[in-house]
Amino acid sequence: MLNKLPILLIILVIIFLITSLFSFIMMEKVVTPERVEVKKPQTSTAAGIVQVSIANPGYEKEEGNNGAGI
C-alpha cells in the first residue's frame, strides 16, 4: 500500500495547484474594476435654413447693388 504514496502525493499537489489557480481567477475578478468604454463622437451636425420669396420683377429699381458684379 505504501508504494502508492508518491501517486497520492502527486494528486495532492495537482489539487493544490488547481485550487490556487481558481483562487487567483476569483480574486482577479473581485479586485479588478470593470473597464467602462466611453465612445466619443467624431462628428456632429446641425442645420439652418435660407429662405426667400421671389415676386414678379415688374418694375425698374432706382438704385442699389444690382447686377452680378460680384
Partner: protein, 235 residues
C-alpha cells in the same frame, strides 16, 4: 515509539485529499456569495482614481434661419441680396434698396457655436444649388454664396497661434475661415467654413452670412428655401 501502520497513513492521506477538495468547493461558493465582495486589499492602503475625459464633439445653431422676405429683382439687371447688410428702416433692402419688403432682425446670419470641449473644423453644405433654389439665367445665372465671420461677442475661429482668437481671413495651415464669398456650385458637398473653432467660453462662435443673386427672369416662387447642414469634425 510505535510504528504507524500503512493503512493508517493511507487513511490520513485520503482524508486530507477529501478535506482539501471539500474545503476548496465550500470556500469558492461562499466567496461568490459575499456582497460586497471581500478582497485582499488592506483597509488602510491608498487608492487611485483614474479618469479619462473624452473629446466631446458638439455644435449648436442659434438663429438658424436667414429669411430674405419677399423680393422683386430688378427687371433688367437682377439683384444682389446680402444678409450682412441691413434690410431695416433705412430700406437698404439687403444692399438692393427697394427690392425686398422690409424685414426686421436684419442683418441676418446663422450662428454656429462649439458646445464641446475640443477644437473643431466646421463645414457647410447645401441641399440645393442656385439654379434650383432661385432659377433664371438673364442677364446672368443665379448665385448662392456664403461667407463666414467671427461672432463679435464670442469670436471662435482661431488663428495660427491658437491664443489670440484673431481669426485669419483665409485658410492657412489648417486655420482661418471662409471670409470671402464662396459660391455653392455643388449640392450635398462639404465646403470648409472654419478650421479650428475653439470651445473656450466666449471664444466659440462664428456667423455665416448668405448672398444671393436673383436674375431678372427668376421665376416667381413663394418661400423657396435651401437647407444648410453644418458638420463638425475634430480639428
Amino acid at each position: 515509539m510505535e510504528q504507524v501502520s500503512d493503512k493508517t497513513i493511507m487513511f490520513l492521506l485520503i482524508a486530507a485529499i477529501i478535506i482539501s477538495i471539500g474545503g476548496t468547493i465550500v470556500s469558492i461558493n461562499r466567496l461568490n456569495q459575499l456582497i460586497p465582495r471581500v478582497t485582499g486589499l488592506g483597509t488602510t492602503t491608498t487608492g487611485k482614481v483614474n479618469v479619462t475625459l473624452a473629446n466631446v464633439n458638439s455644435i449648436s445653431i442659434t438663429d438658424s434661419q436667414i429669411d430674405f422676405g419677399s423680393c422683386s429683382p430688378n427687371s433688367s439687371t437682377g439683384s444682389n441680396l446680402s444678409s450682412n447688410i441691413s434690410n431695416g428702416t433705412t430700406w437698404q433692402s439687403w444692399g438692393s434698396p427697394g427690392v425686398c419688403v422690409s424685414i426686421v432682425n436684419s442683418p441676418d446670419n446663422i450662428t454656429i457655436k462649439n458646445d464641446g470641449n475640443t477644437n473643431l473644423n466646421i463645414s457647410v453644405k447645401t441641399n440645393v444649388i442656385a439654379s434650383t433654389f432661385i432659377g433664371g439665367d438673364s442677364p446672368y445665372g443665379p448665385l448662392f454664396m456664403f461667407s463666414v465671420k467671427n461672432d463679435s461677442d464670442s469670436p471662435g475661429c482661431n488663428n495660427a497661434t491658437g491664443t489670440t482668437w484673431t481669426a485669419q481671413k483665409e485658410f492657412n495651415i489648417g486655420r482661418g475661415m471662409a471670409w470671402n464669398w464662396s459660391n455653392f456650385t455643388v449640392a450635398d458637398e462639404d465646403y470648409l467654413a472654419c478650421a479650428n473653432l475653439t470651445p473656450v467660453a466666449n471664444r466659440d462662435s462664428i456667423n455665416l452670412f448668405v448672398k444671393l443673386y436673383i436674375p431678372a427672369d427668376a421665376p416667381q416662387k413663394t418661400d423657396t428655401n435651401a437647407t444648410l447642414t453644418f458638420t463638425a469634425t475634430n480639428w
